[in-house]
């Protein structure tokens, strides 16, 4: 089986905007307030607060986005722009382990395609998809700034560099 090595882009955002708004605990609200207080305009705090909402809700779902728009006095479209721009922000449910394989030049020259192929085979998903048990998500991302140690991928927030076939097996097997 050869997988097509491109991200499957969702054509339409699967998020249903229902108009309801997320509710967070006082501790989370305090954290959001702390971020808002750092900037002269609310808009500047969009990224840290998005990460908080994503951490609390798993991904940026409709209520979360409504909350963000309301809290930052922005339009829904502004949130959509940012949320779909960054590969670390998700507008659909994401697996417990998000494997982000770098596909930019240095990694590509040193065999990133093989790494992607291997992850794909092992997990049985294409880039851009999530396993049925919700444990792994695989995606291809642009340069992560680790060109000296290519090829590499990032699992959640950890870099794994100088990858080889064995190393990939070992890393994927070691994830609980």
């Amino acid at each position: 089986m050869t997988t097509e090595l491109v991200n499957i882009q969702p054509l339409y955002q699967p998020v249903k905007m229902s108009g309801e708004m997320a509710v967070f605990s006082p501790e989370v609200e305090a954290e959001i307030d702390w971020h808002l207080a750092k900037y002269p305009s609310k808009r500047s705090a969009i990224l840290p607060i998005m990460f908080i909402v994503q951490r609390e809700r798993g991904y940026l779902d409709g209520p979360g986005v409504s909350y963000l728009a309301n809290r930052l006095s922005l339009r829904i479209t502004d949130i959509w722009e940012v949320a779909t721009f960054y590969s670390m922000l998700h507008t659909k449910p994401i697996g417990q382990y998000h494997i982000q394989v770098c596909k930019t030049l240095s990694c590509k020259l040193l065999g990133a395609d093989k790494i992607t192929e291997q992850c794909s085979q092992k997990l049985g998903i294409k880039p851009g998809e999530t396993t049925a048990d919700g444990k792994f998500s695989l995606s291809l991302v642009e340069c992560l700034g680790s060109c000296g140690t290519a090829p590499m991928f990032q699992v959640n927030f950890d870099f794994h560099e100088n990858l080889t076939t064995e190393k990939v097996d070992q890393i994927l097997d070691s994830l609980p």
């Binding site: 054509l11 955002q13 479209t77 502004d78 722009e81 642009e142």
Partner: protein, 756 residues
Amino acid sequence: MDQSDSIKVTINGADFQVAKGARLIDVCRDNRFDIPSFCYYADLALQASCRMCLVRIEKMPKLQTSCTIICTDGMVVTTQSEEIQKAQRSMLEFLLANHPLDCPVCDRGGECELQEQTFDWGNLEERFTEQKNYHPEKYLSPMVANDPQRCILCKRCTRVCDEWMGEQAIEAGNRGAHTVIGTYGGWLNCSQCGNCIEVCPTGTLLDGTYRHQARPWELNQNVSTCNFCSDGCQLSIGSRGTEVLRVVARDRYVNGLNGEFLCIKGRFGHPFIDHSERIRTPLIRHQKGGKLIPATWDEALSFAVRRLSEIKQTHGANSIGVLGSPRLTNEALYSLRKLATEAIGTENYGISDAFSLKPFFDNLGGPLATHRDIRYAKTIVLIGGEPEELQPLTGKQIRQAVRNGGAQLILINSVRIRLREQASQFIHLRPGSEDAAVLALANASDELLASRKMDVDAAEIEAARKAITDTQGDVIIMFGAELSGASQAVVAQMPYTLGGEDRRVLLHPLPLYNNSVGALDMMRDGKEGVELLRSESLRAMILAGTPLTNVAGDAGLIPNCEFIVLSELFLTAAGEYADVVFPAASYAEVDGTFTNNDGFVQRVRKAIEPLHQSKADWLIAAQLARELGVDFGFEMSASAVFREIGERVPSYSGLRYPLLKDESNPVQVKHAIAAQRELSNDFSTIRAAVEAMDETANKEQLTPEVGHELFKLGTLTEKVPQFHLLAAGNPKPESVLVSPLYQITVDGKLGKRAVA
């Protein structure tokens, strides 16, 4: 140009004197050096993403984008060379990397900027062999169709949406090669102005109502004036044979005061023109309570004239009233006035305008502000009204003046309208207390009383007045339909009371109809519409256009008349009590003029022949007069009517159609400027009204939804099926791949219909 602030720029070896601060791309284009570009759009924020406008500037290391360069003294520029051409060809190759070759089925084929640049700069071979992005065509709203794969990411649409409309409804999502233009949830909930369609250089955003109906080169494009609001936008009617297929404002067809701006009504409100419900033949109701029977023109005219003559003989000429709609052309209104005064001899004629500006024009103390003045004003005062919904072009100019020109906006309103996002000062009043605001602005001694009635601090009024009197430059004072006659007079005198050495005060009324100003010019000595509607002495009425029910809340006493003549496009409520109905021609079928709220008198041009048996309103009036035995001598030409207007209406003196030929240089009507006068009587009139105001009413706290006025179904807009969807809240259909009209039934109730 003053030599002191002009600089020398050398372009391709020739020297040019240009103004300081001029943009290089504009200078090059003005001097006939053609520079290709996609993302550059005058008066929008810079994007510099298409990289087509590259030029070589000496002493600068790389090729520069000419759209981001401000000319400096002694700049030496090359716009055409081997190197630049190579760069531009490569850029175009990038732009075409994901662009499909579906020009033969693309609506924009033939008027597409990308197509044109490709003919000029395209490479014959493409090195990009990977698979192109693929997205299906879909609908973003009932009005806007979208084909994301054609997008070249110039982001004109997003900038226009943000800067012109202040809505940010459409934005770019995703990243890199996957970037798409769209909106969260894939459904546009905005005012549906369609400006994104207009400025799109490719076929990415398409007019969903005209889609796949014609090719641009089949259409006759006729420049005309919009017949919806009083801004008088210049548009181009695309017709094929006898059908009007689309309305555009693209600068290749028309270059008016609005540039490429149109609102939802101007752009999508045209299907009423060839709607099946148009009255096709003259109709006669032979006896009261009977049915309207189709008749020939001769029968209908002679029947009407016979009855009118009878009534004139038994009850006198003044028992016949003539009421024109402010939607008609100047020619029609002039003709009606002439019918009333010369053929019938009645004093009872007027216009059915819900917001009569007569007191304003009687006391006019200075020139009317043009839309250009608004864009470059320093201070804008808006008292009442809601330009974004009722005069969208004015709303756009205000927003641009604030955002791109640094003007300050003082907003005095009882509703928290969306423009308050731009306002430097928002004075939130009690509903109905706009007169008090005028009084407080004009007369400081009444400040305390007014502020108590408006429920605002006196300091706020103080601050607003200070902001006006501190301005260096133009002050624009606008007012909406909430003001009483006395307040209008006070506002009209403000150029005298608030003007100064370094300050011009310009006035900009916000009338409600396309020809409110012109109608007033034609019938200055006429009576108020309300007066005629409520007059008990009238036995017969000649109505051109349905008398607006919002003038009096109902049709007044008109239905009680013995005999009613009506000329209309559709059988409206007035058709129920009319005895003779003449089919009138719509604005796309007549020659004429409208006068907008700038005082610009602009041509309405015939795009198609009058449909069915309809005739222009001025012609109907002239033929009635001829049957009554008075020949106006207009023969069959609207220009003869306008020539007579130019001879007899003082403010139009000397105007002829040839002088109005150029829509990019409109002619302003010379309204008589009244002398400054004592205003104490007006003050006491307003004061008495203000003192009677309620002091306990609550303020309106809700922000109205976008489109709450625009999507209202009127006589004309209800003929457009898409408007029904919008009026019902613009629901998102099951599938965005099929036009919503096939999925949602348009009968007021939103049920599912089987997908065709």
